[in-house]
C-alpha cells in the first residue's frame, strides 16, 4: 500500500531523515519509534505530502509526487499530534471537513455526507458530542473528533502522529484499541509515530526504530525491542518484560538506586546511596552548605 524509497529531508546542512526505505502492506500497522528528533514526525509529514523531500513515495502503486492534493487526500488521512481546534466549530462540522476531498472545490456537503459523518461520530462513541464546540473537549474527546475527521476522508492509509500523547493511561489504551478495531473493520493501513514503547509493542504489527533520521532496525516488536538496543538509542536504562498474557512491557529504570533508609540521619549522597556510576553519586552529593543552618549533618 505504501512504499517509501530513499526518502531524505534536509534542514539546511542537517538531514532530519536520511535515505529511509520503508514499506507498509495493506492492513498493516507500522509503529515508528525512536528518541526525540529521530525523524518520526518528519517522516509522517513526508507521507502526508506536507514536507519537501527527496526520494519517492508511492501510495497504492501510484507516485505521490504527481498527485493532486485532492487525490492524495482520498488516499492518505493524517492526524497531527496537536490538531488545531478552531473556536466556534462543532464536532460534527469538524468531522465534515474530512469530506473535503470528496466534495467539489466550491461545493458543500450533501445530506449523505452529513449522515456519513453522524454515523462515524456514533461509531467512535461521540455521537452525543456532535454539537459541542471543539475547545470545550477533553483530550480523549478531541482525539476521537480528530479520528472522525480523518476517517471521513475514507482514505486507506491513516497516519497518526503521537496519537496518545495528550491522553491519560486508560484513554491511551481505549484510543489505540479503537484504531485497531477500525483498522480491521475497514482494512486501513496505519502508520503511527508512537512514544510509548509498551503501547507500540502491543498494538503495532511491526516496529521501525529510527535514530538520527535513519532506520536502525525494523521487524516484529519482540525482535526490535531489546534492552541493550533501546539503552543505546534512547539513553537511560530500560527493562523489557514479557507479562503472563504475552504482552511486552517496556519500562524505564532509574540508574541510581533510591535511598530507602533515612534512619541514620544521612542526607542523600553521604554514603548510604549506592550508585553503579560513581560520577552520578558525586554530582548528586549534597554539601553541608546546601543544607543551611541547623542541618543534620554529622559532625
Amino acid at each position: 500500500m505504501l512504499h517509501l524509497v530513499g526518502i531524505t529531508v534536509s534542514y539546511g546542512p542537517v538531514d532530519a531523515v536520511a535515505g529511509v526505505n520503508l514499506a507498509a502492506a495493506d492492513g498493516e500497522w507500522v509503529g515508528l519509534i525512536g528518541p526525540n528528533g529521530a525523524g518520526k514526525s518528519t517522516l509522517l509529514r513526508v507521507v502526508a505530502a506536507l514536507q519537501r523531500h527527496r526520494g519517492t513515495v508511492r501510495i497504492d502503486g501510484r507516485a505521490a509526487a504527481g498527485m493532486s492534493r485532492r487525490h492524495h487526500a482520498r488516499l492518505v488521512a493524517y492526524v497531527p499530534q496537536q490538531p488545531e481546534k478552531p473556536a466556534g466549530m462543532t464536532v460534527l462540522e469538524y468531522a465534515m471537513l474530512g469530506r473535503t476531498p470528496h466534495i467539489g472545490y466550491l461545493g458543500v456537503e450533501s445530506a449523505a455526507d452529513r449522515r456519513f459523518c453522524a454515523a462515524l461520530l456514533d461509531r467512535l462513541g461521540i455521537a452525543g458530542l456532535g454539537g459541542r464546540m471543539l475547545p470545550t473537549l477533553s483530550g480523549g474527546e478531541m482525539q476521537r473528533a480528530a479520528l472522525a475527521r480523518a476517517l471521513a476522508q475514507q482514505a486507506p492509509v491513516l497516519l497518526l502522529d503521537e496519537p496518545t500523547s495528550a491522553l491519560d493511561l486508560g484513554n491511551r489504551i481505549d484510543a489505540l484499541e479503537l484504531v485497531d478495531d477500525l483498522r480491521r473493520e475497514r482494512g486501513l493501513t496505519v502508520v503511527s509515530a508512537i512514544h510509548d514503547l509498551t503501547l507500540a509493542a502491543q498494538f503495532a504489527d511491526r516496529l521501525v526504530l529510527l535514530a538520527d533520521g535513519r532506520i536502525v532496525t525494523s521487524g516484529a516488536p519482540c525482535d526490535v525491542l531489546q534492552e541493550r538496543r533501546l539503552a543505546r538509542y534512547f539513553g537511560g536504562t530500560v527493562r523489557v518484560i514479557d507479562d503472563a498474557s504475552g504482552n511486552m512491557i517496556v519500562a524505564p529504570v532509574r540508574r541510581r538506586v533510591r535511598p530507602t533508609d533515612f534512619g541514620d540521619d544521612l542526607p542523600v549522597g553521604f554514603g548510604s546511596t549506592v550508585s553503579a556510576d560513581p560520577r552520578v553519586s558525586r554530582d548528586a552529593a549534597w554539601t553541608p552548605a546546601d543544607l543551611g543552618a541547623g542541618s543534620r549533618v554529622p559532625r
Partner: protein, 378 residues
C-alpha cells in the same frame, strides 16, 4: 468488550445502546438533529439580517429634510420599473428626492458596507487573524495615495479620482504580496501581514508628504479619507457594482473552503485544499471588491472588523453564516451610519467614518461582553 467501554466512557451510551446496535450506520436521532441544526443556522440569521437591512433602507430613504412615507417610496419604485407602466401619484419633486438623491445613496452604502464586511471576514479567514480587516494589506493606504495624487493635481470631483484610488489600492496589495513572497515560506500569514504593514507605512508616508506640500487641498483630501456618500449617484453605483458583485460571488462560493482553512494550512493541505492558491483567490477577490468600494466612498473604517465579529458572536463562527450575514449586516450598518451622518448636524454632514468608529467601538465592546464571547467563539 473494549468498544462498550469506549462508548460508555464518552457518555454516548445514553444515546445509543452499546454494542452491535450502536454500530448501525443509520442513526436517526443524530441525523435529524444534524440536518435541522445546519439548515436553521444559515437561513434564520440571513432572514433576520435581510429584514434589518430592508428596514434600514426604508428608514434612511424616509428621513431627511423632506420626510417620505414608505407608501410613497414603494409607488415611486414601482413607477421606475420598466414594462409595467405604473403611474405613481407622488409629486415629481419627491420622486426626484427618492430616485435621484436618497436611493442611490442608500444602495451605494449597502454595496460598500457589504463589501467591507465580507472582505473583512474573508481576510480574517485566510490570514487566521481576528484583527485582520480589508485594509490590512495596504488597500487603504494605496487608495489614499491614489486619491491624494489626483486631488493635488486638481482632479477632485472628476471621474479620474475613483480610478486612481482603485489603481492605488490594487497596486498596494500587489506590492504587499511581492514583498511577502520574498519572505520566508514558513512565515505564511504573518509574512503577509508584516509586508502589509510595511507597504502601508511607506505609502502613507508618501501620501502625508504630498498632503503637507499642498496645504490648500488638505481639507479635500481629509474629507475623502474620512469617507462620505454625499455625492453618491447612480453612476457611482453602476461603476462599482460589477466589481463588488464578482467579489461577493467568489467569496460566497469559497465559504466552505474558508471553513476548511480554519484548521490551518497544514491540516487544510491534508484535507485536499491548497491553502496558498485558495488564499490568493480569496484575498484577490476581497481586494478587488474593497478597492472598488473605497474608490467611491473613501476610507470608511471599522465595518470590516465589527460586522464579522458581531455576527460570529450572535450566529456562530462558520463562514457559511459569517460571510452572507456579515455582508447583509455590514450593508445595514453603513446605511444607518450614513443616515446619522447626514441628519445629526443637518444640513451639514459628518464624515461617515467618524460615525462608524464612534458607534462601532462601544457596540463591539458590548458584543464582546456577551455570553457567547465567554464561550470562546471568537
Amino acid at each position: 468488550m473494549t468498544l462498550d467501554r469506549v462508548l460508555h466512557k464518552s457518555g454516548a451510551g445514553r444515546e445509543a445502546p452499546a454494542g452491535n446496535a450502536a454500530r448501525s450506520a443509520q442513526v436517526p436521532g443524530v441525523d435529524a438533529t444534524a440536518e435541522t441544526v445546519r439548515r436553521s443556522r444559515v437561513r434564520l440569521p440571513v432572514l433576520v439580517s435581510a429584514v434589518i437591512l430592508v428596514l434600514s433602507m426604508v428608514l434612511s430613504i424616509a428621513l431627511g429634510a423632506v420626510t417620505i412615507s414608505p407608501a410613497d417610496q414603494i409607488s415611486t419604485l414601482l413607477g421606475h420599473l420598466p414594462l409595467i407602466g405604473f403611474h405613481s401619484g407622488v409629486a415629481p419633486i419627491e420622486q426626484a428626492i427618492i430616485w435621484d438623491l436618497r436611493l442611490p445613496r442608500v444602495v451605494l452604502a449597502t454595496l460598500v458596507g457589504a463589501m467591507l464586511a465580507g472582505g473583512g471576514a474573508a481576510y480574517q479567514g485566510v490570514l487566521r487573524n481576528s484583527l485582520a480587516d480589508p485594509y490590512l494589506l495596504g488597500v487603504a493606504a494605496g487608495a489614499g495615495l491614489g486619491a491624494t495624487v489626483v486631488i493635488v493635481l486638481g482632479g477632485a470631483g472628476t471621474p479620474i479620482l475613483p480610478v486612481a484610488a482603485f489603481a492605488g489600492a490594487v497596486a498596494a496589495v500587489a506590492l504587499t504580496y511581492t514583498v511577502a513572497a520574498a519572505g520566508t515560506e514558513r512565515a505564511g500569514g504573518y509574512a503577509l501581514i508584516l509586508a502589509g504593514v510595511a507597504a502601508a507605512a511607506m505609502l502613507t508616508a508618501i501620501q502625508t508628504y504630498l498632503q503637507q506640500q499642498h496645504a490648500d487641498q488638505m481639507r479635500q483630501i481629509y474629507n475623502w479619507i474620512l469617507g462620505s456618500f454625499a455625492v453618491a449617484s447612480w453612476s457611482d453605483v453602476w461603476t462599482v457594482a460589477p466589481y463588488i458583485a464578482i467579489s461577493v460571488v467568489v467569496l460566497l462560493a469559497h465559504r466552505r473552503i474558508l471553513d476548511v482553512l480554519r484548521v490551518g494550512g497544514d491540516e487544510a493541505t491534508t484535507l485536499g485544499v491548497d491553502p496558498r492558491r485558495a488564499g490568493l483567490v480569496i484575498i484577490g477577490a476581497a481586494t478587488l471588491g474593497t478597492a472598488a468600494a473605497v474608490s467611491v466612498s473613501g476610507l470608511i473604517g471599522f465595518v470590516g472588523i465589527v460586522a464579522p465579529h458581531a455576527v460570529r458572536l450572535v450566529a456562530g463562527a462558520s463562514y457559511r453564516v459569517v460571510l452572507p450575514v456579515s455582508m447583509i449586516c455590514g450593508g445595514a450598518f453603513l446605511v444607518l451610519a450614513d443616515l446619522v451622518a447626514r441628519t445629526v448636524q443637518a444640513p451639514a454632514e459628518v464624515p461617515i467614518g467618524v460615525i462608524t468608529a464612534f458607534v462601532g467601538g462601544p457596540f463591539f465592546l458590548l458584543v464582546l461582553r456577551s455570553r457567547r464571547s465567554r464561550h470562546g467563539v471568537l
